[in-house]
């Protein structure tokens, strides 16, 4: 099944996010080998050059590395993965707050609503 893409953002950056999520939630574990560009491009039904670009960006962020013999592997630096996870979480919270404010809630009301649901 092809990966679902939004229409308004470059495909490579959406691929970046999707692979990042797989790393953060441990589908691709720290230090383990990643599928090849071609395999993952076929799975996602995207152009291999675009997948290559997503990989290059992940490499640039230090989340994956190219090793001479074993292809691409996820970084062993758990702090880096934790930081990426934190950034993703912040983005989720920010977009939640933005949506709630759009509905007319102020920050206090949002907090109370969240607390009441958690109880």
């Amino acid at each position: 099944m092809a990966w679902q893409m939004n229409s308004d953002r470059p495909i490579y950056s959406q691929l970046y996010d999707k692979i990042l999520i797989r790393i953060v939630c441990g589908i691709y574990k720290a230090g383990n080998r990643l599928p090849s560009v071609r395999e993952l491009a076929a799975e996602a039904s995207v152009n291999p050059n675009t997948m290559q670009r997503a990989f290059a960006e992940l490499e640039h962020s230090g989340l994956i590395m190219t090793q001479r013999n074993s292809g691409r592997v996820v970084t062993e630096d758990l702090n880096k993965i934790e930081e990426a996870k934190h950034r993703l979480a912040l983005a989720q919270v920010n977009s939640f707050f933005a949506n709630m404010r759009e509905l007319g809630y102020n920050d206090q009301e949002i907090l109370e609503l969240v607390k009441s649901i958690l109880q």
Binding site: A2, D8, R9, P10, I11, A41, A42, P48, N49, T50
Partner: protein, 253 residues
């Protein structure tokens, strides 16, 4: 002995300078007789590199098929030139171009297996193994005669034959139009997995949203002219919209 020698010679790889663009259009024009001064292709200049998957897009009658036919040497330009690996269309360029025309030309009386043999005989770069692999995956019986197949299945057979070659340039005129969505996915996946980084695929289609994620670049044509030649990701990052949405805006009726 002599026959063997000739065979050996024809199988020698043609040396291609990688600095020469795969495809180059120089001020290309086409005017059909009886069309007055209207140019179906109007002063097109274009350089297409190796290793790309390119969508040739534009509304009906904008000159896509005319352009494709000139690249394949089926129509002569009114002025300007087409160069493939630096050569004008000729038998040597047909050897490196795998072309899927908008209409199938297969002999209806032949069996699928005979068609495969025919292609294997005709093209040195044809892989029988690849062809049977794809036919099997799409559940097409090789014993069936073409006239017994549905329109969509015939199109699949034709596309399989074209994609089973190891060409430099694949030109596919409306490859997925008559094919059901599941087979469309399979065909796109086949294109992605089989495609070799040294070759380029140019495909014309109206089903942009189906193929958008597979494309590197797009060419927009309008009234025979080149309107835009850019990458899919640059349309998305600069315009903040998909190629499909952008197309609908540019060509809004």
């Amino acid at each position: 002995m002599d026959t063997n020698q000739t065979n050996n010679i024809s199988k020698d790889p043609v040396y291609v300078d990688s600095n020469i663009p795969l495809l180059q259009l120089n001020d290309l024009c086409k005017r059909y007789p009886g069309m007055g001064t209207y140019m179906s292709v109007f002063h097109m200049n274009l350089i297409i590199p190796r290793g790309r998957i390119i969508g040739l897009l534009g509304p009906n009658g904008c000159g896509k098929t005319t352009l494709i036919k000139m690249i394949n040497g089926l129509l002569a330009p009114t002025s300007g030139s087409v160069l493939i690996n630096g050569m004008a269309p000729c038998p040597a360029t047909k050897k490196v171009i795998s072309y899927l025309p908008e209409r199938t030309y297969l002999d209806n009386g032949m069996k699928v297996s005979q068609m495969v043999e025919y292609f294997a005989d005709f093209y040195e770069d044809f892989s029988t193994e690849k062809a049977y692999g794809m036919l099997g995956a799409l559940g097409i019986s090789s014993d069936a005669r073409l006239k017994t197949l549905s329109k969509g299945t015939k199109e699949k057979v034709q596309l399989i034959l074209v994609m089973s070659r190891q060409a430099d340039l694949y030109i596919l005129d409306e490859p997925i139009a008559g094919v059901d969505p599941a087979a469309r996915d399979y065909i796109l996946r086949t294109i992605i997995t089989n495609y070799n980084p040294g070759s380029t695929i140019i495909l014309s289609t109206h089903l942009i949203s189906d193929i958008e994620n597979v494309l590197d670049d797009v060419i927009f044509m309008k009234n025979g002219s080149l309107m835009l030649y850019t990458s899919v990701d640059s349309i998305r990052s600069q315009m903040g919209k998909s190629v499909d949405t952008y197309f609908r805006e540019v060509y809004a009726c």
